[in-house]
Every structure is written in C-alpha cells, then in structure tokens.
Symmetry: C2
Subunit: 415 residues, 2 copies
Amino acid sequence: MRCEVLAVGTELLLGQIVDTNSAWIGEQLAASGIDSYEHRVVGDNQARIVGALRELLSRSDAVIVCGGLGPTQDDLTRDAIAELMGVPLVRHEDLAHQIATMFRARLRDMPESNLRQADVPEGATAIPNPLGTAPGLVCPVGDGKVVYAVPGVPYEMQEMVRTHVLPDLLRRSGVAACIVSRSLKTWGTSESALAEMVAHRVRALDATGNPTIAFLARGIEGLVVRVTAKGATEAEAAALVDAEERELRAVLGDLVFGVDDETMEHAVLTRLRARGWTLGVAESVTGGLIGARIVNVPGASEVFRGTVGAYATDVKRSVLGVTAGSVVSEEAAREMAEGARRVLAADVGIAVTGVAGPTEQDGVPVGTVCFGLAVPGAPAEAVSARLPGDRERIRQFATISLLNLVRLRLDALGR
Amino acid sequence: MRCEVLAVGTELLLGQIVDTNSAWIGEQLAASGIDSYEHRVVGDNQARIVGALRELLSRSDAVIVCGGLGPTQDDLTRDAIAELMGVPLVRHEDLAHQIATMFRARLRDMPESNLRQADVPEGATAIPNPLGTAPGLVCPVGDGKVVYAVPGVPYEMQEMVRTHVLPDLLRRSGVAACIVSRSLKTWGTSESALAEMVAHRVRALDATGNPTIAFLARGIEGLVVRVTAKGATEAEAAALVDAEERELRAVLGDLVFGVDDETMEHAVLTRLRARGWTLGVAESVTGGLIGARIVNVPGASEVFRGTVGAYATDVKRSVLGVTAGSVVSEEAAREMAEGARRVLAADVGIAVTGVAGPTEQDGVPVGTVCFGLAVPGAPAEAVSARLPGDRERIRQFATISLLNLVRLRLDALGR
C-alpha cells in the first residue's frame, strides 16, 4: 500500500505558513506500515491540483489531500477532485443542514458561500467534521484507488485522519484494521546508548514484525521510543503494546519520564500532587521559563505557588536571601531553593542559576549551570552541569534538566 | 521565471523532521518576484530524486534541491544530478583540500567518506559553504535551465540561497541584480484595517511594480508589512525601500514596533535603556513567560531586574502586597505593578493578572486579563482586556499585549 500527501495552499508556497500537516500525516502513515514516497505542495489552482493528483495516482494507491476545503472561491479541492473523477458536485442537504446548525450554535450568520462546503463529488462520501464546518471526503477514483480530502486546520485534519482515513486505508490494504501506538518518552541518554539498550527487543520483534519499535529524536525534549502494534481488534493491538511496554520499561527504567502527550513538567506535578506537596521556583538564567512551562499543565494551580525570576544579582540577595559570594555556585543554588520555599511558602523549592552567555560572568564560563533542590525534612542539595549550545538552548536545556532532577529526586524518596 | 523547490530526505517523509526550508525558500523567491508553483519532498532514493527533477524541470526554469549533500551513502543528490545531466562526478581537489582543512581546524579526524562532498557533476560549479563541509552546486541542465543544490541544514542553506542562488536566478531572469527587503512589524490592528490604511500606497506602487508591498500574518506576533525593491545596485534598491518606509510609517504611526528581526521585547528594552530605567515584572496568569521573553534580548541584564511569578493568590498578597479583594482586577494589577517596582527595586513595574481557563475564577470569565503599569513620577495605571483563544494562546496574547502597552506608554512620556 502506497499513499502520498498533497498539501494545497498558495500561502504554503509563499512561505507564509510552514506545512506541518504533511510531516504529521507521514508519521501516522509510517506508524501504520503504509509507504509514502512523496509529499507535494501546490497553490490554490484547480489545474495544478488536478495535475498533481494525476501524477501522484499514476504511481500510488491513494493520496491524502490536505487543505482547500474552505468556503471561499479560493478553495478548489472539491472542484479539482470532481474534475479528476469526471463527475459533477452534488449538494448534500444533510451536510448543508449541519453547517447551518453549527453557525446557529455559535450565534453567527452563515454566509451563503459556506454551503459550498456541503457539495460532494458524485460517488464520493463525506467524512463528518465534529470540530469545524468543512466535511472531509473519501473519493474512489477508479482502479481501486482513492483520494481523501481533509481540512488544512491541523486539529480538524488530525481527527479525521485518525478516525477515518487511516482505518479506511488499512481496510483497503487488507491489513488487520486496528493500529495502536504508544510513545515512551525518555530523557537523559544518547540515541546510540538508547538503541543499544533495546537492541535485543528490536531483534526479537524483527522475527514477527509486530509490534515494531521506532526511535524519534525530540531535540531538547529527549528521545522517544515508539511501539506500534497491529491487531484484529483494538484490544488485541493494545495488549501487544502493553506487553512490549513492560519489556522496554524493564531495561529503560527511570529514563522513561512519560507516555504519549505527557511532558516533563507533567511528570513533576503528578509526583508532587501525589504527596500533597506544593512547589516554589527560583530562577535566574531562565528568566521565568520554568514557571511558564509549569503553568502549561492543566491543574497546575493545586501545586504551583509561583516563581521568583531573580535576574539581577542583588535581587537574588534581597528577595531570596542569597549570601554566597558568587551567585553562580552550588551554594547560591541551594540558597535560592531554600529562598523559594520560604518566600513562596512552598513545600519544595527548586532553583537554577547559571551563565547563558554570550560572555562569561565573574570568571564562570558560558554554559555553567547550578541546580538547587530543597525537599521537606532534608538539607538543600545542589549539582552543577556544563550545558552546550547558544543562549536560548542553554535556557531550554537548564529548564528540562532541573525538572528531570526533581522527578528523579522525588522518586528516590520512596513511597 | 519559474523556480520549484525539491526537499530530499526520508526523515521528512517519515515526519521525524518538519520541512521548514521549503517555506523559507518560497518566501525568498516570492520577495524576489520569482514564481514558484510546486514544492516537493522525496526520500533518499536516487531514482525518485531524478524522476522528481525531470518532472519539475519539464514545467519550470529552475529547481532548488535542498538536502542530500552530506557525506554518507544515503546522500544521493550529487549522484542524482549527475545522472540527470548524463555526466560523471569529478573530484575537485580544491574542495577536498578545504574540507580537510575544516576538519583539522576543528581538531577532528576526517572520515574518508567526507571527500565525497568534493565530487561535482562535470560541468557544474560549486558554491562555497563557509559554515559547513557540504559545498552547494549550480548545475546547468540544458535548454538554459538550472538545478541548484543546497544543504539541508537551515543556516547553511539560507546563506547559500541569499548570497548565490537568488542573485544567479535574478541574473538569469534578466532582472536588475539587487533585491532589498525590509519588514515593518506592526501590532494592534487587523489585517483588513492594515490593508485599508496602506491601500493608497499599494495602488501607487502598482504602476511601477517596484518596490512592492506584501502583508504577512505572524499570528500572535502581529502583522508584517514587507517592502521589497529591486535596483541595479544595493544602494539603489535600499533607497527605494527607505523612501517607501517613510511613506508607510506616515500612515502606520506607532502601530510599527520594530523592523526585521526586532521583537516587541526588544522595542521595550531599547526604550527603557534610552532613559536609563530598569524594569521589574509581576505576573500571574503567564507564570513567568514575560520574564522568559525579556531575557531573550541580548544585554537584557542592563535593564531587567527580574520577575515575580505570583501564581497562588496568597503569594500575590505576601510577596507583592496586593490588598484588592479580587486578584483578577485592575486594582490588583496596579498593586502588582507597584509591588514589582518595590520588591525588585526597579524604576518601572509592569504586571498582568487574569484567567486563562479552562474554567472561570471567582466569577471572572476565561480570557479576562488586567494589565498594570507603574512608571516613575506617576500613579500606577491599569487596563483590562478580554482575550480570545485557549489557555496557551491567552498567555501568549497577554504577554505581547502588556509589552506593547509598555512600549506605547513610554513613547507617550515624550523625550
């Protein structure tokens, strides 16, 4: 089974928007074992959309077209597919009704042009869009081949691809219909070391080809080990993934900080919430970034007291009570963590101080970072690190490094 | 003149990396008045690279190939172009020497395979790469058509496109060789209102077509009005841009907060530095994001004292001295701004408090945000806003809104 991706939109060609949809779809196709050899972008031009579809279908079984399903005259994907199929567009009254209802629910007048979104090439079927007004399309184009049309709005597109396009593609490919994927997110080791740790599992799975393991680098956010299984039912696929997750966790241990959408800050807040502890932060080099990440977790307010971004040296002293000679030192990091606990009335205080550059500070070289941590019933601790990269990268690296230290320290406390 | 873009890399098809290069190149081509009707991605497969080049060249004058110039066996762009041209690869000893020198300068051993990067299709010329080991290529392919090969590493690619590919394309198109572009960054109005304000300039320029004006939406970062001029010399093009910038500024006024790479935080820090004033921040709903943005400006430490991320209500009271009944109120925002000034010993205090959701807080609806501002010699001020979007968007919107308010307030103080 081979499926290509065609993104439609002049704004993509002009570079006003970066096409992230094709990469996302490519990732899903790969996880489902479907080959994809070409991604293409064309503008809002019917002849060029039709031409691209013809070329792509000449060497593949299916094409997912992304974008061009809006209500304006610029939105030509429906017309292009009808031309390709040699059929007229037919208005689906049930779709028209749904679109009108959605407008009424949002207390808005519906421009007449929006009813264009209820037009479907004869012989095609609509994919419902619970999140917007543009239905998707499944369009048989002869020789058992198929064109799927999905909206360009990422979350609408993703929902349709997940719930309709991939299952339909898998059905057509004759593969067991259910795919379950799980990402184990790791932090703290290199890609080659990780690959070595799980090499025996990759070899074991090579024999059956189900489930499969893939490694994905996520930059500063770490490395992902993704397990993907196929099954006749979702439960069967999930059972295979569960079993493999246990095997992988047995070797990866506490390198794994989360699953799927769980972030490092989520891992930290979950552990604190379980103990009923609150968190206070003191940050220098990161300027507020640690706090900004933490409040991205829904429900952060139960745990997070606040952050003191003490950028100037004398603010570290006056607000956080730092007495250490050098404010980039383990002693200062400990005092900052204690200061965060005290000033913010938190159970746990964490801190980072360092030099992000561009030049060294008080003889301390760029990239030097000291982390402080104060938990209840123990003296404050500190560790130092030397982080690579430019100003921005050092800050990002310092933030996730500190959160990871907190995660491991809380786990080490035991139950 | 028509030039298409071909990105090469299996990792792009698999969605392990998002292709941002094509959008960037598309933007440069559009700014240079060169049409681009198709972007394409293929994997590391020689036959498919050659096939894509043949198809693209059948309907365009030029193709920029991005990626596949590395030293490994997977890097097939050189071989594919040689196959397309029907010529052998020839090792250029001067390139080999440069590559070996670059390795020695970095105190590293050079794997023999790196010398593949000195291989050039017969009849092609190399583009020097001051930033890496992969030279680019200019490859005449018959009928006056040309293929450019550039590395996939964004900053290496951008340097080559700017300094070699665009000038060569413009020379071939018979257009005056120099292009100068300037982006006026605006914040505070809608795209349609902005277009209306400068409609008379767009009409005036339509007659000559030089310079041109384009509108680019940058999401939360505002709208950009980009002026692009062509000239026989860079000075001639720059003079046209200068003149048009004056015309545009006359109507846009203080909507313009910066030029090209200048950010909103840069605009604020520049104004504070000019007065010799320091800045303290108090933030609730943004959790530290305002501080994190400010420290991205090099030299921030001269101006920025720090931020108090007072997420919990009682921290607003204990650390910042807020006495207002509701902590999401203009009174609270004023007290927070004053608190930031006092606690952080800053000349100017700024503050934001609000409700990012998902649910309302103390009867205050989601999206309500209050901004506070305290400058020397005046009582603290506050304004409220109701911001759209989800949790993350409200935070981003609140951050740039507050920074923009500070910019305008400082300008209103006069010299």
